[in-house]
């Protein structure tokens, strides 16, 4: 729309001509990357020293926050203020972290989202991730010569709703205009598929630093259709490091180490793991803080045997994904490997054995996700390229449902449903005169609610008192193209719209995000506010013009009361239009949009009737 519409105000034209700055971001557990499409080719944007990867590490120092290699250098000297693998904490509560003791951080005992005490205050994983995203945004803006118009941020396919929402919130706090959340294996399939003109059914095996995904996709004439996905959002290369670490403690007969020593040993463990990709043995050597020396040799045979159970943990999701897609390994034309951890020989052997074919390794497993995300961002931003006539159809990884009587889950949307999707189900009251109902939204495959992930609790109030079973409460689930769920509830028989209070179980409340946004403005002091205001003004002008002209054409569809509500909403937008508060302006625009929703629907009906008049149905397809 914006491209077709230009307000001729001097100096304010929104990207008057040419290319939009679109980026793809792979926000990884261990490393992150940013990529863009340049001259028709997807490229990773390196730093000024030519390094493509940014270690996903944030250090909260005395005077400043460091990200990437600078933060990496701090991890042994200041482990409690140097946050690594924060992705494992996204959308999680402390109680979810079976391995909380593996982290050297000072966690806060509080319900809901994980919080970590650092030198510069209590931080949530969302804020910590936002620091990484901000560093990537800065890199991209420097490289592309201006503010980013749109970003696609990738998430593990097996991330649940809370983890996805947390990622989107982090991008928001980092000041990134998010075009889409994209599943990592799907991004890889896009990069691979477009590059190789692939057709057929493919599997993407994505073992990253902390997450595992398997996706089965059908590639056919420009459509990438995800048939099924499965995985483990707490399994990755980190766990292999940890096995080596435990092995080393056992071999060297060490007591539980201090946080700094643990970091030292884990760094050694990671290096040994990487070395074993091309060598038969690796040496682990570390000088610990008490002066003792660790010096061990790890053979690839021992490494394979101590990590056997981890490799096996990836097989069950593969079988399940195939079963959900109603396929067998023989139906798979090729297996794409993604994620640095797939360099391990035992992984390659296991995958080759399972699918009875060698996996495809002709692409860089570290970069392919960011490249696919950049390609998608470029397309969504509206930059035209050759052969960009393709479409992604993705799925939700885990079933969405509600708690019913007896703590049992009622599934509303089954896993592997293609998104976007909307479903509704009716429920009723079980007591006479019941006026309120708690609606508990959960995600997962298990029968019992306590075994599923709690996403949110809703309270539906204001149900008119009726006999038990007479009220009809329609609960609607809407999953958008980002895989994010919104839930609504409404009592049907009386048409009374009841109020809903939403309490995300593991998310940030809107006011918390607003606060973090404010802090990030103060901290970054960039021109984002001004830009947001300018953009919102353009949007405001557009909607005023569109609404006024629609009123001229179809004003007769409205009652005088409805008409005056719309006029009022327009007046509010006009009043805010010349102010400086972009959030107030945005709110007024949204209010106008909301007020005209019904009007738009009626106009749609009218134009449909016009179009249908005198035509046969099949002439319209």
């Amino acid at each position: 729309m914006a491209a077709l519409f230009q307000i001729s105000e001097p100096g304010e034209a929104p990207v008057p001509h040419g290319h939009r700055r679109a980026i793809g971001i792979d926000l990884g557990t261990t490393n992150s990357l940013v990529a863009t499409v340049r001259n028709g080719y997807a490229v990773v944007l390196p730093d000024d020293q030519g390094r493509p990867l940014v270690p996903s590490i944030v250090h909260y120092g005395e005077n400043r926050v460091e990200v990437g290699f600078d933060a990496m250098a701090r991890q042994t000297e200041d482990p409690q203020n140097t946050i690594v693998s924060v992705k494992r904490l996204m959308g999680r509560g402390l109680a979810d972290l079976a391995d909380a003791r593996r982290f050297p951080y000072r966690f806060q005992e509080a319900p809901g989202i994980v919080r970590i005490a650092t030198r510069t205050g209590v931080k949530t994983p969302v804020e910590i991730s936002a620091e990484i995203l901000r560093a990537l945004r800065d890199r991209a803006e420097t490289s592309l010569g201006g503010p980013i118009d749109g970003a696609v941020v990738t998430v593990p396919a097996y991330f649940d709703d809370a983890q996805r929402q947390a990622t989107k919130d982090a991008a928001k706090i980092a000041g990134l205009p998010v075009l889409r959340l994209l599943n990592e294996p799907t991004a890889a399939a896009v990069a691979y598929g477009l590059d190789n003109a692939a057709e057929g059914t493919y599997a993407v095996y994505d073992l990253g630093g902390g997450t595992f995904d398997i996706s089965i996709l059908k590639l056919s004439r420009g459509v990438f259709e995800v048939l099924a996905t499965n995985g483990d959002s707490a399994l990755g290369g980190d766990d292999f490091d940890h096995r080596i670490f435990c092995w080393a403690l056992e071999q060297a007969r060490l007591p539980p180490p201090s946080p700094a020593d643990a970091r030292r040993l884990l760094i050694e463990a990671r290096e040994a793991k990487e070395k074993l990709t091309g060598h038969e043995t690796a040496r682990l050597a570390a000088l610990l803080s008490d002066g003792s020396n660790v010096d061990l040799d790890l053979s690839s045979g021992v490494f394979t045997s101590i990590t056997q159970t981890l490799v096996a943990k990836t097989l069950q999701p593969m079988r399940r994904a195939l079963r959900d897609a109603q396929l067998t390994p023989a139906d798979i034309k090729g297996v794409v490997l993604v994620g640095g951890a797939t360099r391990m020989p035992q992984i390659r052997r296991a995958v080759a054995e399972f699918f009875d074919q060698p996996p495809l390794t002709n692409l860089n497993p570290d970069e392919v996700v960011a490249l696919g995300a950049a390609i998608q961002a470029n397309k969504l931003a509206g930059n035209r390229e050759r052969d960009d006539d393709w479409l992604l159809l993705d799925v939700i990884p885990l079933s969405l449902g509600l708690e019913t009587m007896g703590g049992i889950t009622e599934k509303i949307i089954p896993r592997n449903s293609t998104i976007p999707i909307a479903r509704a189900q009716e429920f009723t009251t079980f007591k006479d005169g019941q006026t309120a109902m708690v609606i508990h939204v959960v995600q997962g495959e298990r029968e019992r609610v306590s075994d599923c992930r709690s996403l949110a609790r809703f309270e539906l109030r204001g149900i008119p008192p009726m006999t038990a079973g007479a009220a009809r409460i329609r609960v609607s689930f809407d999953v958008d193209a980002d895989g994010l769920l919104s839930v609504g509830a409404r009592e049907q028989t009386t048409g009374v719209e009841a109020t809903i209070a939403v309490k995300p179980s593991y998310g940030l409340r809107d006011d918390e995000i607003a606060r973090m946004l404010q802090e990030s403005f103060a901290h970054a002091a960039d021109d984002m506010l001004a830009r947001a205001l300018a953009e919102t003004q353009v949007e405001a002008d557009r909607i005023i013009a569109a609404t006024e002209s629609a009123l001229q054409v179809d004003g007769d569809l409205l009652s005088s009361e409805e008409r005056s509500r719309i006029d009022e909403a327009i007046a509010v937008v006009k009043a805010m239009r010349n102010g400086t508060d972009h959030q107030a302006l945005r709110a007024s625009v949204e209010a106008l949009n909301h007020t005209t929703g019904e009007f738009a629907a009626r106009r749609m009906d009218r134009s449909v009737r016009g179009a249908l008049a005198g035509k046969r149905v099949d002439a319209l397809t």
């Binding site: 729309m1 914006a2 491209a3 077709l4 519409f5 939009r20 749109g150 075009l179 889409r180 056919s220 004439r221 420009g222 459509v223 259709e225 069950q316 079988r319 399940r320 079963r323 998608q376 397309k379 969504l380 931003a381 509206g382 479409l391 992604l392 159809l393 449903s417 293609t418 998104i419 976007p420 999707i421 909307a422 479903r423 809407d478 958008d480 193209a481 949007e539 557009r542 909607i543 013009a545 569109a546 002209s549 629609a550 054409v553 179809d554 949204e590 949009n593 738009a600 106009r603 749609m604 134009s607 449909v608 179009a611 249908l612 149905v617 099949d618 319209l620 397809t621």
Partner: protein
């Protein structure tokens, strides 16, 4: 600039799923034409095509795309396709108040479930596979029976019982399949 009344009408929500895909309203269907129609329609309405559009258009794309997904899901699977076809004729084949199934049918499936449970406890994957094969054969016979009732005789009430049995068999096949994969895991 484009005004709302000039916007493309993405899809017409008053049309039924068959009309939406431009397919004949019958039970027996060609899955390739359904898939092609689905993909063509999604290419037109998917939110990815409207990522830089206005809020109104985005919302419409989201709703249209969700509708197309729902329609595809309903027509792809024989049980839901039959159920949907009957519902277009005012028949609720799987109503919760009318769940009768023939006694001999139920007995046969009960025996199968028992045999399957025995196969699981004996860790006998091939016995389980044989039962699953039988179930799938019987389901496929039921599909033909539904097709005859709906497409040949246009007798929607006659189709109710086989649809209900088919639903039962689909559930059974799914459970057996789950048992099979837990044996293999």
């Amino acid at each position: 600039m484009r005004l709302p009344h000039e916007q493309d009408i993405m899809i017409d929500f008053s049309r039924n799923y068959f009309e939406l895909f431009g397919l004949p309203q019958r039970f027996e269907s060609d899955s390739a034409s359904l898939e092609n129609a689905y993909r063509r329609l999604q290419t037109e309405v998917h939110p990815d095509r409207f990522a830089s559009a206005g809020e109104q258009e985005k919302r419409l794309a989201l709703q249209s795309s969700a509708r197309v997904n729902e329609a595809y899901r309903a027509l792809k699977d024989p049980v839901s396709r039959a159920q949907y076809l009957l519902s277009l004729h005012g028949i609720d084949a799987l109503s919760e108040t009318d769940t009768q199934l023939p006694m001999d049918f139920l007995e046969r499936q009960l025996e199968r479930r028992e045999a399957a449970a025995q196969a699981v406890s004996a860790n006998d994957s091939s016995a389980l596979a044989a039962i699953l094969g039988d179930v799938r054969r019987e389901a496929s016979d039921l599909v033909s029976e539904v097709a005859r009732a709906i497409d040949e005789r246009q007798s929607f009430t006659d189709a109710r019982m086989p649809v209900r049995e088919l639903k039962f068999m689909a559930k059974l096949a799914n459970d057996l399949d789950a048992m099979q994969s837990s044996l293999d895991d």
